[in-house]
Symmetry: C2
């Protein structure tokens, strides 16, 4: 199909498609003449992934990393999932005290070798932000986070498709980044439901 | 203290403090002369809350809502927690099909009356983003989300301080918005730990 049809099918404007082509996030189409290229289903799928990541707040640098993983997936499933996960983990300053983050990792049954430095740095950064605001997560609540987020991650991982490497990477990348707004939105609803249960107000 | 000392104590630059004063996010100091005002501990605390929210990605409109809740807290605890929670829930288009979101609410044991429209809209928006990307959350994973996020919310709510309304609002507002990056970061680490367990790689 031509670029105009690719735009219609994907819902992405032509100038944006041209930008993604220049940025090499989208592979070139097949040249059908010196001024025309032809695009296929793979382009529509790739545009869907890019738009979804952008909508989820992932920057162009993150999209570039995801595309790199999709184009040259590592062979070992652990490295594959790790690279996909790390690609959508926003970079934060590594100039942080990692002690408390490593302590939480330990309580989750993990070891430093299990994690990418970005992931530990993200935990440390989140803890530092809470500290600066003078907010302490109560011990019982932190215990609940570690327990329930661990269980949630196990369920997510158990559902990783084994049909192809592309499917697995797509699942981890989109499942990690895109599902975040859903998890946060569900948590807020859950808090509201719990509050109505506790205080008996707002009930039908 | 003078504005220069307030800046030093809070780590917020003087021009930013002046901006917050103009935006009425920070109450005026006590006039000590026609050109000078005096600030106190309450200003340092308020600046800590504002900076924390801004760092957590909450926009000025959201900060304004939080400040309004802090300044005039509702009397009923359910309304109080709801208003605090809703204040930090980003507004999304309400021009969305809410059917799937209400179905999830029902599975969580909640009813539409329990929730603020923004919260249901946020779930619908997250589901629509996933749809657009062609990503389906597997049933078993969605079950895990509802179960574990529900348990997590119960634990959070059980730890709400009952020392004062200000403390409760501060806990809900900061606990909802500021803890989000921690939850997301811990989830990624948990996925990594689960992957290393499943594939036996990266172990010590």
């Amino acid at each position: 199909m031509r670029i105009s049809e690719l735009s219609a099918q994907s819902g992405v404007p032509v100038p944006t498609i041209k930008y993604y082509l220049r940025e090499k996030l989208l592979p070139e189409g097949e040249r059908s003449s010196p001024t025309q290229a032809s695009y296929g289903v793979a382009h529509v799928q790739r545009l869907g992934v890019i738009r979804a990541l952008v909508d989820a707040g992932v920057g162009i640098a993150g999209v570039r990393k995801v595309v790199a993983v999709l184009e040259e997936p590592p062979e070992n499933p652990y490295d594959l999932l790790g690279a996909a996960n790390a690609a959508v983990t926003p970079a934060v300053s590594t100039d942080l005290d990692l002690t408390a983050a490593f302590a939480l990792l330990d309580r989750m049954g993990g070891a430093p070798q299990h994690c990418f430095p970005e992931q530990i740095a993200a935990v440390a950064h989140a803890l530092a932000t809470l500290d600066r605001a003078g907010f302490t997560v109560p011990d019982a609540v932190m215990d609940a986070y570690l327990e329930h987020l661990g269980a949630l991650a196990e369920a997510e991982l158990a559902a990783t498709p084994d049909t192809s490497i592309e499917d697995a990477v797509r699942y981890v990348v989109l499942g990690t980044a895109l599902v975040e707004p859903l998890i946060l939105a569900l948590r807020r609803v859950a808090e509201q439901v719990a509050a109505s249960r506790r205080f008996g107000s707002g009930a039908p």
